[in-house]
Amino acid sequence: MGQTVSTPSRHAPLVRDFLEQSADRLPEKTALVCDGKRLTYREVDRMADQVAQALISLGVKRGDRVAILLQNSVETVSGIFGIVKAGAVFVVINPTTKRDKLIYILANCRATALLVDGRTDLTGLAGETDLLVPSLRGCILCGATPTMPTGGTVRCLSFQTILEQFPATRPARENIDLDLACLIYTSGTTGDPKGVMSDHSNVVFATSSIIEYLGNTESDVIINVLPLSFDYGLYQLLMTFKFGGTLVLERSFAYPAVILKRIEQERVTGFPGVPTLYALLLPMDLSAFDLSSLRYLTNTAAALPVSHIEALRKKFPRVTMFSMYGLTETKRTLYLPPAELDRRPGSVGVPIPGTEAWLEDEAGQKLGPGESGELVVRGRHVMRGYWEAPDLTAKRYRPDRVTGDRLCYTNDLFRTDEQGFFYFVGRKDDIIKSRGEKVAPKEVESTIYGIASVREVAVIGIADPVLGQAIKAFVVTSDSSLTEKAVLAHCRAHLEDYMVPKLVEFCAELPKTPTGKIKKTDLT
């Protein structure tokens, strides 16, 4: 990207505007409730400016990638906005990501800086051994009393030092809206994670479109329990700051009663969930909580069973329910207008405002009502492709034959009804959706192959009322003393929590096709 030769005279909107415009308009309004703190828009904006100044002092330049490996926290929020204010690209990584994969991602995107918990083992990344990610120039260590690595060339700053020593000055505006805003790493069929590139215009468009159909206003208070590494969670932050509402940011849904209490205390109006969370809520007695402030619930990541939708509507009779569908590659794609829910509870709706979508068969012919085909998406929310992976990008993102528009081929099969509403049919590949997050069987299989005695392994998803799909591994081993526990311990040491199988079954052999490939359709 190099130096900016000319500064655009008219600014196209950028992600930093979400925070800065709300801070200018509503400086004293509560923007963020998190970690027992309440921060105003002015306070969050100042913190983000300080983070930006610190990043610039660490050598971060326009277009550089800066990664965040943190739980949902004030530091994560100010980090995300500090990074875009510095003109850089943020990469939020799931905090349960293990070391090998973290290093893979940092090296893959050639991260210049990393925001990380002060208790994380930084061997090989900072200090005297800082050789594993050569692009890394700085680390920001968060938390109470971080251990500061010594020696090496990677400069380390504590978050506390940044708040004490760096000026809250807004950095100059260098980006145009075609610059990248973020990379979101997602699982792929190949097993290696890949970074979906979003430019500022993609993010600005997608947030506006979603805000439009949810009808968000400044009076909305949104509670987010999903990790900010997950685009569904991240967009709660981006959207709330854009419309000037209040975000209640939690670390997890492990204790539903705590979240319900928080909804009551903060008078929350919007609750974004995934099927796993709703499955936990359904059997609960909610009468102990005053949830009268709730205006809407949203669901995405996997379809809610129609029976759950009906049960939820009984439990929350005055709350509007939005069924939605999307993939990181286009952010959100479809939503069901709530008025349609009674008529078509099994549908995930129509394209989000300002976009279109249709179905194609294998030959690229558009399909009509009743026929099943691949969902193809057109609009300014279609992201820029995968970071430095032209082959994968070319498969997923293809130009329209006439106009050259970038279309997204989703790999998901749908059908439509006579009125043009979409119904999810299945996936074209074998990606598992567990707890609302994508899991590539190949990534889990490669990990299990890391156990010396494992000869063959096949990983599938099986229906699970709470997880959506549970991960099950079939293992052929030459060591009869290998236990399920040992396999799971190995997975837990190498994979994010949501990728660890729930079940392991040992078999003498796996079913094969005539050409010798493992036949997963015969496994249950």
Binding site: R251, A254, Y255, P256, A257, T276, V466, R492
Partner: protein, 81 residues
């Protein structure tokens, strides 16, 4: 109480840490250390209900009662009193 503590520790180590007890102290926060997630909490509650013959109410599903070995031991003592 020490009996329940060692039982709880065993359960946590076996179920969530797959036998590797590394840094688990009686004070370790399961949430902060990423030891237990939402489905894990349900498994933990099922274990407590079965082993100790108690009934955990929805509103008792809070970190103060369940987020460390000490917290669980204290909660059990209260429930069984």
């Amino acid at each position: 109480m020490s009996d329940s503590k060692s039982d709880i520790r065993n359960f946590i180590v076996e179920t969530f840490l797959f036998g590797q007890a590394k840094d688990l102290t009686d004070e370790t926060s399961f949430l902060e250390q990423g030891i237990i997630d939402s489905t894990g909490v349900l498994e933990l509650v099922a274990h407590l209900e079965k082993t100790y013959g108690i009934k955990v109410k929805d509103e008792e599903l809070i970190p103060d009662n369940l987020d460390s070995i000490n917290a669980i031991a204290g909660f059990l003592a209260k429930k069984q009193a």
